[in-house]
Symmetry: C2
Amino acid sequence: MTSKRQLLIDTALQLFYEDGVNSVGINQILKVSGIAKKTLYHHFNSKEALILAALSQRNNNFIRWLESHLKNATTDQQLIENLFNALTTWFTNSAAELGDFRGCFFINTSAEFCDPNSEIAKYCQSHKRQVRAIIGKYLSSPNPQLLDALCLLKEGAITTAYVTNDLEAAQKCLWITAKFKIAL
Amino acid sequence: MTSKRQLLIDTALQLFYEDGVNSVGINQILKVSGIAKKTLYHHFNSKEALILAALSQRNNNFIRWLESHLKNATTDQQLIENLFNALTTWFTNSAAELGDFRGCFFINTSAEFCDPNSEIAKYCQSHKRQVRAIIGKYLSSPNPQLLDALCLLKEGAITTAYVTNDLEAAQKCLWITAKFKIAL
DNA sequence: ACCAAAGTAGACCAATCTGTCTACCTGATA
DNA sequence: TATCAGGTAGACAGATTGGTCTACTTTGGT
């Protein structure tokens, strides 16, 4: 069955997100999941392939979670509130689907893979594009400048919440957007 | 003399920033710098101590660079322009003092060290506090909300420029601040 | 002139890393 | 019933990791 494959991905994602991709060895993943090494290399060619699978899994989880928070917004103002309120639930470990907050898995993983042409770096880039597209989809009308502003504030909030442990970062973004009535 | 010590720090910082702290081994630093292992461990107790020294060096470089760009601003508007224009020169590799852009060394290093109580994570946190304080110092009057906005946008710009290779991220921040006349 | 600190080269250690391999077991399907 | 993908355990290989150590040389200040 593919259940072992899935268990490997789940375990890898959990550990990778928790400790960083380079800090987690194959053997640790095998130990935690209770799966044999041969089985891992039957399903994945290399550690990199497993990392990509974990990134993909996280991408799916994150996008499903994000979309569930944005979908019922009827105005741009509501969309903005939903977005940053959702981030706050994430930062405060109230978003069970995303696990204990340890920053953005894709930003963190990018930091560990310098080569911007690696598959891993490219995947992280595409994740950010997807997230941007989703937020844009729920805007009442195309508005690249507002979209840029929301994405930049979002990235700033995630980074700030993680590095400086400022759990209010997303709420501050809300106050900021409230101040500038830009194109709302 | 301490010249060897300094050479070690310079080499370590260069390699750490380029490839990530966990991807660079002690032996690589020794090879590049041409310094003996005994000498390294004479000056530093451990790799972690060397990392902390490299972080400190980078902190000094960055703050000196930042301050040089902000100091002659006479209005808040000018300060904001100086800040984000400076970031753009960094992103486009026109800030020689900071080396080829590879994101924020402190964000990247935080991503590699999960434990928020580690000395390294704490140092990264304190760097961000210092940068915030410097920007605040040059505001015409204390304005925590504006300061929050600038810091969040700044973090967002750095992260976005690095992960998605969007070199215009800082310029977008400028357009955004131009739109909202918040407390200027 | 002397002495301690700072430096050299590099062997060595134990641990860990990714990845390969042998030998065997299990269960579903043709 | 035969077959084959998927699974097990774990030894093994080859490289690399951070760090210690010995034995020796260079250098600068008193």
